[in-house]
Symmetry: C2
Amino acid sequence: MTARLLEGRPVADAMWQSVAEQASAFAVQAGRPACLGLVGGADEAAAAYARQIERQFGRRGLRVLHRLVDGPEIAGAVATLSIDDTVDGIVLLTPLPAGTDPVAAALAISPDKDVDGQHPMSLGRLAQRHGYFAPATALGGLRLLQYYEIPLEGTRAVVLGRSPVVGLPLALLLLDSNATVTVCHSRTPHLAEVARQADLLCVAVGRQGLVGPEFVKPGAVVLDFGTHPLPEGGMAGDVQTASVAEAAGAITPVPGGTGPTTVAVLAQQTLRAAEQLERTRH
Amino acid sequence: MTARLLEGRPVADAMWQSVAEQASAFAVQAGRPACLGLVGGADEAAAAYARQIERQFGRRGLRVLHRLVDGPEIAGAVATLSIDDTVDGIVLLTPLPAGTDPVAAALAISPDKDVDGQHPMSLGRLAQRHGYFAPATALGGLRLLQYYEIPLEGTRAVVLGRSPVVGLPLALLLLDSNATVTVCHSRTPHLAEVARQADLLCVAVGRQGLVGPEFVKPGAVVLDFGTHPLPEGGMAGDVQTASVAEAAGAITPVPGGTGPTTVAVLAQQTLRAAEQLERTRH
């Protein structure tokens, strides 16, 4: 392996350190901890993610409320948290239970509390480049690039995947950083050839091992957002990490690459929401 | 000149014909004409655009209210139209007068009446690919491509310009049509080389004659969104039309290319808003 490994842990650690300081300052000033509300159903992946958030937030003095509800009650539970003055951020846990209208549920999030960028207003503000909450996984990827001082301005970035949760907001964030951005997807022909034009290749397609070395220009930076649990334990990404690392200049491992930054970004955005909301309340 | 000329007039004519039929059906059903509210200041370009909208809408039985106000009153005038039950669509005329907060003004538009896609909610819905009003100029470009049956799925599109009014929403619309989309901007190096990869080149940079034949792959389709009034009268685009037409397979003229579809799209979206609003009122 010749590529530099872009580990997420030191990025997240730096973020958590400032989060802990900000969280205790907020609690003193507001007389209560900043609080994130989670709303979701009984899905096991959603529950595991909720426990991870609770553990990480708890260690830095941030409060988490977890509302476990059935599909038809999701939007109502979100709306209740939206008007609760002791709740600063709201995250809809996915996958949503059967019977949930995902659009209605996202629209029930107050845009002022939309710390995972799930409301269309947040994505629109991101596209208009003013005052946005970005989806945490996408922004975590940008934070990782910034931490490792990967140049973005004037580079060619290719994003594989156009989901409104990762690929598309990441493309908008990279555009805002003055990269020239190409978005590819399942209907893109000659995918490897297009990907090989990238100085920065970001992969968020949700298909294990799709990206091999033929996708990568020698020396390119490769970000892998895939998370596929393996039957034998452990996790794989969308990128064939070992073989791609022979060609790439730098690559995120899976696990331990883009993953650890997501919850830290959620905490940062929860604190930003809390501070803004406190200002408007007084 | 070898390229096929993609004229906007027949595209707009077809749209206006269905608009006129829909408008009279709406007026009978609702007991009033569908109505577009325009809000702007004393800028001459804004006033000329308002007169053009009034003339075109008037001929098809659509009402236009034009509110001419000073900068600090813009958001209030928009908010008044947002709650007026006889107004179905709202357009902020640009350039906005000095002293206007453009974000506050756009946020005052009810998203249900945002027929020119100026509210961040509309851009976010476009990015999330559900139930959107798109900026009219960008959607007009897509309508022109559809009218001339230009294939989009699987093609490589390059958009020059990332403004939230034209370039960015057009990129989102093309992505939604399954093109592979690259967005370039003022910080893109080797712009001509990137543009030459395009099967479809869309130019919305606001710089007269920036794009010459060296930007165009032989046979590519070129859409020009530039509008630069010439001192000797007439209009030029962002593309050097005559020389680019030697290389391109098809190209929009300026004037008479992407321009005529804009106001027709506004009328279509005003009628769609009117019909949706009437349904929710009864």
